[in-house]
């Protein structure tokens, strides 16, 4: 297996529409967290979230696709437009069976589904729109992207909550060079409607704090107000190609995916340890790099104190206490579920490009037991060649992805 090159990046996130807008906001520590405006959240215990500012589907999505897609699919269509343009590729010029689409899904078309279910329960079955059949379910985004861009090679959807985006990218690496030359991979999410929010509330891990700067602050000492996380919408779509295919086209080189591993936590109450440490070690082994070669870790950053402590322990076990810079830029967006992993990878690739570690929201004091070199509040310049991205999804899904900077990014630096 040769390692694939990321040739295109598309971002639609609370931090901005477009990879550069997102990146500048993250470097400036500009948060996209605010009061939920997509519906009136007054009656719900969670009233803050990361919303995409100024996303207008009609500007990004063909007219025929809007009535048959959820906002989740529409944000993926927009991110894919940008990613393909960034990669300078016209899919119509490539063999259709050598291109694939792998996306993550979590909330799926919840908002679309809620609208149609409201029709069902208030007016009756004949009022449910025809497109409910295709808009809400997990594979809708992969399917619409594959049809729109004529990609008939490997197509799949990964349902692993927050971990799914990294799974999509890790699987893309395995398929490239074997079944495809180009894969559209990543994910977005649109979890901000009452139906989706209530589903999320059931895990008891969402933050009910009303201060946008303090509501979601993983690894921070917030005693006595231990909280949790906030949700957000959007994500990222990447174009991955085999090195040969990328070279042949003279495509842009944003960096390489060099390692991937996925694990599953033991059931609650089990004496066995969580899967994270072993998943990190397996991903590094897959990438053939030692822990000391990793220059930055993009943490999962659950925000739930016990899960933060477990992640900090796993990172310290592999890299040593404060042994590697750790950042959680998702504190600026909330957890994007299906969009989270891909957005972290997009952010990590931009960090590798510009040789700077982006910060998460400012953390004044680390929580007891979280012995991390946390980059927060301000960016940190550093020589960056290898980045590790971690993600954990509800139910025990655990993934780790290893990225390497493009040669051009580290040239001339030592």
């Amino acid at each position: 297996m040769s390692n694939p090159v990321v040739t295109g990046i598309g971002v639609v996130a609370p931090t901005g529409i477009g990879a550069e807008a997102h990146w500048q906001a993250v470097l400036a520590g500009k948060s996209g967290i605010g009061a939920i405006s997509r519906f009136d959240p007054a009656a719900y215990p969670v009233r803050l979230a990361g919303e995409i500012p100024g996303f207008v589907a009609a500007e990004q999505v063909p007219g025929r696709l809007i009535p048959q897609t959820d906002r989740w699919t529409q944000t993926s269509i927009a991110a894919t437009n940008e990613a393909l343009a960034d990669a300078q590729v016209d899919p119509a010029e490539l063999p259709e069976y050598e291109m694939g689409v792998l996306t993550a899904a979590s909330s799926s078309g919840a908002e679309f589904g809620q609208r149609e279910m409201t029709e069902l329960f208030t007016k009756g079955p004949s009022w449910v729109g025809t497109y409910q059949a295709i808009a809400w379910f997990f594979a809708a985004t992969t399917g619409q992207l594959a049809i729109r861009h004529g990609m008939r090679g490997p197509c799949a959807v990964y349902c692993a909550e927050q971990a799914g985006g990294l799974d999509a990218l890790g699987r893309a690496r395995r398929l490239l060079g074997v079944e495809a030359r180009l894969i559209v991979a990543g994910g977005t999410d649109a979890p901000l409607c009452p139906y989706a929010l209530v589903a999320q509330l059931s895990n008891g891990k969402l933050s009910t704090v009303d201060d946008p700067d303090r509501a979601y602050l993983p690894f921070a000492d917030r005693a006595p107000h231990a909280t949790g996380y906030l949700p957000g919408e959007g994500g990222a779509i990447l174009i991955l190609e085999t090195r040969d295919a990328a070279k042949q086209r003279g495509a842009p080189d944003h960096g390489t995916v060099i390692g991937y591993a996925a694990g599953m936590d033991p059931p609650p109450g089990s004496p066995r340890p969580p899967a994270l440490r072993r998943t990190i070690e397996r991903a590094l082994a897959d990438a053939d790099v030692r822990p000391s070669y990793v220059d930055v870790v993009f943490a999962d950053g659950s925000g739930v104190p016990a899960e933060d402590a477990a992640e900090a322990a796993a990172i310290s076990a592999v890299f040593g206490p404060r042994g590697v810079p750790v950042t959680v830029p998702k504190t600026l967006t909330g957890r994007l579920y299906a969009g989270g992993g891909a957005l972290d990878v997009a952010t990590a690739l931009l960090a590798l490009r510009d040789q700077v570690i982006p910060p998460g929201l400012r953390v004044e004091r680390l929580a007891p037991g979280c012995d991390l070199d946390l980059v927060s509040g301000a960016p940190r310049e550093a020589r960056l060649r290898t980045a590790l991205v971690l993600a954990r999804g509800h139910g025990g899904f655990t993934t780790a992805l290893v990225l390497r900077a493009a040669d051009s990014a580290t040239k001339g630096r030592s």
């Binding site: 007219g63 025929r64 809007i66 009535p67 004949s126 729109g129 025809t130 497109y131 059949a133």
Partner: protein
């Protein structure tokens, strides 16, 4: 409503299934194939279903398969309306 016009259909298409880039619904579309205008069978089914709900006309679910042009759709809907009145 006693008569369903091509303009009524245009309005319904715009509101419920959208319009493809490069398609001019205001043009002479009566005899053009729905497929040519960017509408697949699911889109036609959705429009027929909207007509059924809005006008209260009983139209069988599989009617959409037989209707391939806007002109045919308008004629079909008016025939059902006439039956319902009569």
């Amino acid at each position: 409503m006693t008569e369903f016009s091509l303009d009524d259909l245009r309005q319904l298409l715009r509101a419920s299934v959208g319009v493809d880039e490069g398609v001019d619904l205001d043009g002479d579309i009566a005899d053009r194939e729905f497929v040519e205008l960017g509408y697949d069978s699911l889109a036609v089914a959705e429009v027929i279903s909207q007509v059924r709900r809005r006008l209260g006309v009983p139209i069988p679910e599989d009617a959409a398969v037989e209707i391939t042009t806007p002109g045919a759709a308008v004629a079909f809907i008016n025939a059902r309306l006439a039956e319902a009145v009569g």
